[in-house]
């Protein structure tokens, strides 16, 4: 875990109102695994840090993806090159790509695309073929960047690709990794109990001390999205207690 003042080096728009920020954070770029996150703080900004999955890395840079959903993310998007962002990470327990499977479906909804490029990279390195399934409400909300041997688009309104949810567009694969709104992940759990899902919760510290990011477990009790998570076996989560109304990227 590192605490860095990371200069903002680049920004690009990948869907309507959805941006990728590129930060210079060498120690994090060199150690982060798919599904792990960074906890970012900026000034002027909110009091608490906000968690972001690492989207991609390139050399000494990490990328995060966000939408302006509130005052905090608007402040983040107003920053210009060389402004610094306080960056704590890498945090959490990411995806596990076991030996054996030959194919993986990376299933994402909206900003849930965040951990998938790193997952694609790790899958490919493990010799696993990648089916990229990405859904959103409509074509202009789809993240335009995809990385798979096969790419499937899904939109609720049918404006691109499969008309329906990303989950219902997934073909047969050996394993499934998913990220998106909790409602979507609950559907993933119904269909593939062994899928690995990256959940989002409200988060305080990101380091395991505040117990604010409680994830309700099927076996009873809670553990911490920031420490044991944010990636879980889908059927291990008690989806009836995890708030379903949280969109992915409640952040700020």
């Amino acid at each position: 875990m590192f605490l860095l003042e990371a200069p903002l080096v680049a920004r690009r728009e990948v869907a309507r109102g959805m941006f990728v920020l590129s930060l210079e954070a060498p120690q994090i770029a060199n150690s982060v695994r798919a599904g792990q996150f960074v906890n970012l703080g900026w000034s002027p900004g909110p009091l608490l840090r906000r968690p972001f999955s690492v989207y991609r890395t390139e050399g000494d840079r990490i990328e995060v993806i966000l939408k302006a959903v509130g005052a905090g993310t608007a402040q983040l998007l107003a920053m210009t090159a060389r402004d610094t962002i306080s960056c704590l990470g890498p945090l959490g327990h990411g995806f596990d790509l076991p030996a054996g499977p030959r194919s993986v479906a990376l299933v994402s909804g909206g900003l849930g695309v965040a951990p998938m490029p790193l997952a694609a990279r790790e899958a490919r390195a493990a010799g696993i073929s990648v089916t990229w399934v990405h859904g959103a409400r409509s074509v202009d909300e789809l993240c335009s960047e995809a990385d798979g041997d096969e790419v499937i688009w899904a939109t609720d309104d049918g404006s691109r690709g499969f008309a329906g949810t990303a989950v219902s567009a997934v073909p047969e694969t050996d394993i499934v990794l998913a990220c998106g709104p909790n409602r979507m992940l609950a559907a993933v759990a119904m269909r593939w109990p062994d899928a690995q899902v990256a959940v989002e919760t409200y988060m305080g510290c990101g380091t395991g001390v505040c117990l604010g990011c409680a994830v309700p477990l099927e076996r009873g009790g809670y553990d911490r999205a920031c420490k044991e998570g944010p990636v879980y076996r889908a059927a291990d989560i008690d989806w009836s207690v995890l708030p379903a109304h949280l969109p992915y990227a409640i952040s700020a």
Binding site: M203, C210, Y222, P243
Partner: protein, 304 residues
């Protein structure tokens, strides 16, 4: 110039005046970045006799310059604490006080008796912001007799330092402070979080599943400085100031207002090394104002 930062809180000598507040530091074993050199002491996450699962999510929400939390004192229970954490504390170069909780005064006493003599346990901080099941859920901390009863129940079972963490949700904090002092407290921690509420206008429901939560952070700082000051004026035992300390100047406000030491909480969530920054900033202030030690810092404590 090196400034002497050591302080005495009752019989406990601390290497510095900046302590980690209960619930913001876990059991001290989590955050690898933390610069421990400046830590005066740690107060553990609150513990009950038995394990507790805690409240369902959402447990925290950010509010203007602050946060609400309702964790529900999730924890392993006293036996888990003794097994998993106390042995580590015994190796550390700063004292660890255990924040203790109960539903009856007798439970607090039992906890103190069980932990007394366990290597690694240097003292107790009593959380009196718990509902008293023997009095229909009235909070111990809102009633001077109940606060005194809990303090006495703990005092009788241990010779280790006993601190009482006061709640701000009272009419006159001085009355509670004096009751705890008379019942044998060695020091007072002032203050715990304020009870607050935040509503989600999309769901038209409280944002926290528990409905209410404890408000912390800079939003409460002026309220906390005032209450800590009132407590300090009411008693002759040391008062440890708590409430929204983010930097050294915030801590210095509490110290000048009559506190012997301070606890830092929410700031640690934002910056795992916040305590070291507060400590170093206090030392720099003292040096630049010509004080050779923290003890020389003038206190504003009119006795009118």
């Amino acid at each position: 110039m090196t400034v002497e930062m050591a302080v005495e809180v009752g019989e406990l000598r601390l290497r510095g005046p900046v302590l980690a507040a209960s619930g913001t530091f876990g059991y001290g074993t989590e955050v690898p970045l933390l610069e421990r050199r400046a830590l005066g002491a740690m107060v553990s996450k609150g513990i009950f006799l038995r394990p507790r699962a805690g409240t369902p999510p959402p447990r925290i929400v950010e509010t203007p310059s602050g946060m609400l939390n309702a964790i529900g004192l999730q924890g392993p229970g006293v036996e888990g604490l003794i097994r998993d954490y106390a042995p580590q504390w015994a190796q550390w170069d700063f004292p660890v006080l255990v924040n203790i909780n109960g539903e009856t005064a007798a439970e607090y006493g039992e906890l103190a008796a069980r932990l007394d003599g366990v290597p690694g346990v240097a003292g107790f901080e009593i959380n009196i912001s718990c509902p008293n099941v023997e009095q229909g859920g009235l909070y111990f901390g809102n009633d001077p007799r109940a606060a005194a009863a809990v303090t006495e129940a703990v005092r009788k079972r241990t010779d280790l330092p006993v601190w009482v963490k006061l709640t701000p949700m009272v009419t006159d904090i001085g009355v509670i402070a004096r009751a705890c002092e008379a019942a044998g407290a060695d020091a007072l921690s002032a203050i715990n979080t304020f009870v607050g509420m935040s509503i989600d206008l999309n769901t038209r429901q409280p944002r926290l599943s528990f409905r209410t939560g404890g408000l912390s952070g800079p939003a409460i700082r002026p309220l906390a400085v005032h209450l800590a000051h009132q407590a300090a004026r009411a008693v002759s035992i040391p008062v440890i100031g708590i409430g929204g300390i983010m930097g050294a100047e915030d801590a210095l406000e509490f110290l000048v207002a009559g506190c012997a030491a301070v606890q830092v909480g929410t700031a640690t969530f934002v910056n795992p090394n916040a305590i070291a920054g507060v400590h170093d900033g206090i030392a720099a202030y003292l040096a630049s104002h010509g004080f050779a030690s923290l003890a020389e810092l003038p206190r504003y404590l009119p006795r009118d």
